[in-house]
């Protein structure tokens, strides 16, 4: 994948749309995990949420940079 993409005629880093997509995905995953009661068994929910987001964001980024 290219490092920069053009969206509606504006050139921007590919990371930006990936970031937005990861954020949306994270919100969905978070809702599902909360309704399933997973957070009751997690030691530090905030840390866990951040870690999930980092995973979701990093995976596609690795595809670009490797």
């Amino acid at each position: 994948m290219p490092l920069e993409i053009t969206l509606l005629g504006i050139q921007m880093p590919t990371l930006l749309p990936i970031f937005a997509a990861a954020a949306v995905l994270q919100i969905l995953v978070d809702r599902i995990l909360a309704d399933a009661g997973v957070y009751k068994h997690v030691w530090h929910p905030g840390l866990f949420r951040t870690a999930v987001f980092v995973c979701l964001f990093t995976l596609p980024c690795l595809l670009i940079y490797t």
Binding site: I10, M12, D30, L33, A34, D35, G37, Y39, K40, H44, P45, G46, L47, F48, R49, T50
Partner: protein
Amino acid sequence: MTNTLVQPLSWKRTAREWLATDAPVLTYMAKATFAGLLALVISMTLNLPDPRTAIFTTFLVMQPQSGLVFSKSYYRVLGTIAGVGVSLLMMGLFAQDPVWFIAFFALWIGLCTGAGLKFRNFQSYGFVLAGYTLCIVALPVIETPLEIFSIAVSRFSEVIIGIMSATLVSDMVFPRKLFDSLLASERERFANLFSILGEGDALFAAGTETEPGSAGFSGVVGLHAVRINSSFESGTDRKARQLSGQLNQEYMHLSTTFHSLKNILAAAGERMPPEARESLAGLYAPVASVVNASPRTPVSVEELDGIIAGVLEAKEVLQTLVEEERLRLAPFLEADAYEAFSSASGLIVRLLGELHIHCVTYRAFLRHRLSGRASRELSRVVRFSTHTDSVLVALAALRGSGVLLVTMLFWIVTGWPYATLTVTLAVVLGLLIGTLPSPLAAVMNFFKGGVSAVAVAAVYDFYIIPEYTSDMLTLALVLAPVLAVVAWWTTQPRWSGFALGFIFLFMYQCSLDPYFRVDPTVFMESTLAYLIGIGFAGLAYLLVNFWSCSLTQQRVAKILRRQIVTLCSGTITVQRSALESTGRDMVQQFSTQGRLNMRSSRLVYTWLLSTLEIGRAVIAVRRSRKRLPLSAASDSLDGAIYAVRNYFATPSEQMRRMLLMTLKEAVAVLHAQGDSAGAAELKRIQKAAAELALIRTIMLSEGSLPVVTEDTCR
């Protein structure tokens, strides 16, 4: 000896107190400072042109509890996206045409100001942001329109960095959950409810008056906001939120029933002979005894099981008691007194029924929280409807657009290059402070904070930063004390306006650019421009905020009457919960925006309660009417509803007397019809008759009806 005994105890208590009150504030100060500096360092590392936007954003979204930060951040992101999008659009369309540019600008600001008042909580904040992002993005590049893309991207990135820093720090470092405080307030509210219901004597004492929000029946709107914001936190699932919403709604119902009972007893004081009063006190005794026998703050499901069993038992006792007392008193009492008596006794029965439902929901809530097991009890999705007066919204929009047009005029007339700063600050203040209770005072505080900030910023710009900073670490160290103090101010409600002004001007006057640059002339001129902007905003509030107390009373009365009229003739799908939440939300908004004094806000609250009760009765009557076959009974019900509608559409003393008569006749017809009806039909007829009698009892006390009769604003 005593000393050694007392010392460790008091030491422990001091420590506990410190942990409960001071430690959270200190933690918050540390967290806010850290988040702000993190945002500064990241944006400087990424070479963004204006790192102060990031740090400023951090301070705007930072809140003690994580749920609030997430919620505010979420709406801030949405608002910024909308604002940046509209800026790009406007520059694309009207960059060469100042007239259209200003007209569209004013329209957008007016829309955002109006929407900021119309919507609640942080949704309102989102609209505020959408409005003033336009000033931050479009105004600086108005002479060089092609730079709009780069400034839009960098502003957006800075805001996102600020938000990310705030949310990360608040959720990772000593997180404080909003949902836990929701649980605590739910517990406190339950205890309050029990202590109010337990005091039956106060209810039956002569001359009791309804006080607004007194006796713990308050905070419905506030707790609703807490629940909404807590949905952004991890670990609160849908079920818990649903249960909490349902608790809120049932609490509203209980509060209305209790206050109606209180009002009827107070109003019917003269008409009701002492024996009826005593009999009612006797009917209330089972309620008081079951409440007094229960623990005030039940913490376990078992305790609640006990309470629920007690309530059920009391319900059975009460049913038979009410029947007996009605039969016993019917021959002695006059028609009006008997009607008041049976309405009041009906309310007591309803109160106990609602208490039962509330306890069951509370048990489900506790069970869900304590054991995490999915409870079997059904929970409903309850909508909390809101109502905002369109006149208030229109005024706000007018003020927003007006401020922009006047400051733009100031810019055009003076031709001063710094006047864009005046426009920006006037618009920002017009948007940010419009939703606060006393905007003019807030602008004054903002001004004070701004002036103090300029003094501090001058010391930083001309002395501390050039003298002591050499890299980002030293800059962060030097800034930390100021940020910590600002964070402390934001935790103190009376300092909040001052803190806002301070952080705003400090951030924009302090030299926090990627490369240090400072110029005394620019410093002085921009300070002057900002201060003039605050002046314009203050003037706008002074001029457009003519919303007086008597005008508020007239508006509220009119809206409440219109609600009843709609209930009488509109569709009957309206739920009682929607009616209650709208009414409460509206009165809350009017009492913050409309400068009501104690006496008039008590009056408005009484109006609200009688409207809610009449509205509920109207819905019930119309539902019964729908299930009745066509007969004299259904005709008289139609006539009664029509009369109610007529009175509230054009209230007058003559109409009220006519309505009272119609209601009396309708009740008589219903009773006569009931003798020849079947069992199911009889029940419906009796229910409708009881509701009509209740309406009549409320209508008998003129003071509680939403009609402005005298000026209570003096």
